[in-house]
Symmetry: C2
Subunit: 455 residues, 2 copies
């Protein structure tokens, strides 16, 4: 009976051999009553107005898609040149066997009666929440119940913005990862983009440059206006700077003084080598639990950029002005707007935090940090002003009085190396270019050779 319907391949009982299914699927619906779409003008507009906040987003494409476009253009222009990607910070090294196997086993077991399971808790597998609390936050007094497993930091930043709503005021580091500003604008916290200043009217930009020994920490916190939310990323993307214990103590004290909430992005914490002087979590700072949320990720820790797994810590001590714990609302957001991270990815996360898993991750991180050192040595030998690369997989290279897109284009066309122009991270990134250490050793060495001929 259904044999006339184009959707039969999707909806018939399973009694047809594949080729029959395919054949039937190719037939078009002969139900004439519903076949004539032509009676409708195709360009009818709805009466739904565009969300005004979307109009405030900077009209150029999101940074990384824009770089991809440049890459495509370059490939057309130089079809025979081998491009080296030190741009978008995407991990390149295979996942350790023990972790890949854990995910493979979980996936395979989904095909067995004993191994199959469906919905997990939206907040994440309890064992993984505990494991994150016990390893990443060892001795910081973070409970598993305060850890929310996610599909990645970027998604959780958006969920936090839904939680905060449109009426909060926001501060970001300048330069900073674009998602903080863009999600603030989408929610209506950012206001118009002012071309003359290169800033959104309602966002407070904390200048993080290398002048006056500021070392990329906000120059004068005390002079900053109070905001409800402070987005802070350390080790920082893009500058590669990692804030010290005293610097983060300043930040926490500033937030406590103003009654602000710090959204602390620690996605690169595993790259910190100066562990005596640089905190790996905001929760190593006394008093942080009453003013901070920490967003983090397995992406750079474990090469999970494609696997998608992260977490957010919301301490029970963090209270709204009315005394209500923010964790209650975040839990509601997670259970309403999200349905949990992939159980396969979560099985991988557990393997990452096992002793063996973690050991193998350390050696991959070591590899990337050696890349950073090699790149830094080369760029420094070229008399370039190189920052970062010690506690983060990014080098932040200063080209005084140059436009960062010009430097990006120069390096792309002369050395066929993809970087990221600093301006893509905000006005404070102008004159800078970011080099990523996420690459094979072979590519890094080749890149260094090319850079020597480029500058």
């Amino acid at each position: 009976m259904g044999s006339f319907c184009p959707k039969l391949c999707m909806l018939c009982s399973a009694s047809f051999p594949p080729q029959t299914i395919q054949a039937m699927a190719r037939k078009s619906c002969n139900n004439s009553e519903f076949n004539n779409t032509m009676k409708y003008e195709v360009s009818q507009r709805t009466k739904v107005n565009r969300n005004a906040h979307m109009e405030n987003l900077r009209d150029h494409a999101y940074l990384f898609p824009e770089i991809c476009a440049k890459e495509t253009e370059h490939a057309k222009k130089y079809p025979h040149e081998k491009l080296i990607r030190l741009g978008i910070g995407d991990t390149t090294e295979p996942i350790p066997q023990v972790i890949g196997s854990a995910m493979a086993k979980y996936a395979q077991d989904l095909s067995t009666t004993e191994g199959y399971s469906g919905y997990g808790p939206e907040q994440g597998n309890q064992r993984l929440r505990e494991a994150i609390a016990e390893t990443i936050y060892k001795d910081m007094g973070i409970r598993g119940s305060e850890v929310f497993v996610s599909d990645g930091a970027q998604s959780d930043i958006a969920r936090l913005q839904m939680l905060f709503g449109s009426n909060v005021t926001v501060a970001v580091q300048d330069p900073s990862f674009p998602a903080y500003v863009d999600t603030s604008v989408i929610m209506g916290q950012g206001g118009k983009f002012l071309e003359e200043s290169g800033k959104h009217e309602k966002i407070v930009y904390m200048k993080c440059n290398s002048g006056n020994n500021n070392d990329f920490f906000p120059a004068d916190l005390a002079a900053m206006p109070r905001t409800d939310i402070i987005f802070f990323c350390s080790p920082n993307n893009p500058t590669g700077h990692a804030a010290s214990f005293p610097q983060l103590q300043q930040l926490v004290d500033f937030a406590r003084h103003n009654g602000s909430i710090i959204v602390y992005d620690s996605a690169y914490a595993a790259y910190i080598s100066d562990i005596q002087t640089v905190p790996t979590s905001i929760f190593q700072i006394p008093g942080a639990k009453q003013v901070a949320i920490e967003v983090s990720s397995f992406s750079k820790l474990a090469g999970f950029t494609g696997v998608r797994l992260g977490w957010t810590v919301v301490p029970e001590e963090l209270l709204y002005s009315n005394g209500l714990p923010l964790i209650k609302d975040f839990n509601r957001i997670v259970t309403t707007c999200f349905n949990g991270a992939s159980a396969i990815a979560q099985a991988g996360g557990l393997a990452c935090l096992s002793s063996t898993g973690y050991q193998s991750l350390r050696s991959i991180i070591k590899h990337y940090m050696e890349n950073a050192e090699i790149l830094a040595d080369t760029l420094t030998s070229l008399k370039l002003n190189v920052h970062g690369g010690k506690n983060a997989p990014y080098l932040w290279v200063h080209f005084p009085n140059s436009k960062s897109w010009d430097i990006f284009d120069h390096i792309l066309s002369k050395a066929h190396i993809l970087t990221v122009p600093g301006i893509g991270f905000g006005l404070g990134g102008e004159e800078y270019v970011r080099f990523s250490a996420f690459a094979s050793r072979e590519h890094v060495l080749e890149a260094c050779a090319r850079l020597r001929n480029c500058f």
Copy 2:
């Protein structure tokens, strides 16, 4: 050097044997300067006001967590009774071997140089986008570029709400899946919850009951006030009703007349058996592309409730009042607020849409629909008023003049069967209880036996 730091297990180079790492990890930080948290009062509030929209959420917990609480309570009270879960619609049957193996292989290959890959496009793997367009939307003229792969329908509903913003007006079916109303309230579209009416002041509720042969389709569309957005789920969760071609044509014509956008949830489309009379996609309806977005999922199609994979179709023809295509803004939301579904899950999605994969999924769907038939026959034989179960895996059973929580409690305590009380889906669900067909045959038969002694 780092051997005093509690985070050493996370941050040292990989030169320590696991047991040493564990031992060191157990040590607490002896950096006294940052060890004394006691100097801070622990109950300090921030000055950040709670998002007023969150206050408008109904103060009881989200439906499903609430049912879980009842379940726990029941387990304590009846420790020796074996509970049968026909409540939360969670899939129970193992994933077909061919699909589990495809995901296992992808995960295992992530541990090889050839098989490793990182970030994918935020919109999803191009092959999967094409495969969804070509199989699910066969002959409906949907392009792969209009398909956005997601981690599930619930997440995409939240992302669509971020896109729409706070100023749109919204209509929902009553009863309906709670996420539509709750995300509307979180975004500020819903307004206060009025206890007396059991409704949010700014949401339009389309009554979908069984009176006057309405068959759970909105009684009188023409009499409904215009809204910007119309959330519509068919086959419907919870009523199990699947709208016919003429009914959906009415809905599309109504939206076109009002210039509204339909957000069509087709998560249960694969369960439609009356394929001659019931559309499996809103895009089978002429004129739908200018007024509809379709949100869908692999969860119920492929038992991916824990794997997390879905998609949303935004036709290029769908325009705002200013003529701008909505797809441009949705693309920006997806690239800013999301970072793609797990690549492992996407590999599984591709396997689902292969002929072999799809054939095996059909037989699992057949199993669930036979469960629905068995349950329907039993409940009908008990002179109960049973709806749904023909084109959806849910039975919607009417208990006139009863409170749905009372019926839920009665069935739980007498038959030790978990259902869902209709009121959890809105006022229109009062007097109803939802039975899910997602279960093993053994459990369904046992449940039927118990129900015979219960009514």
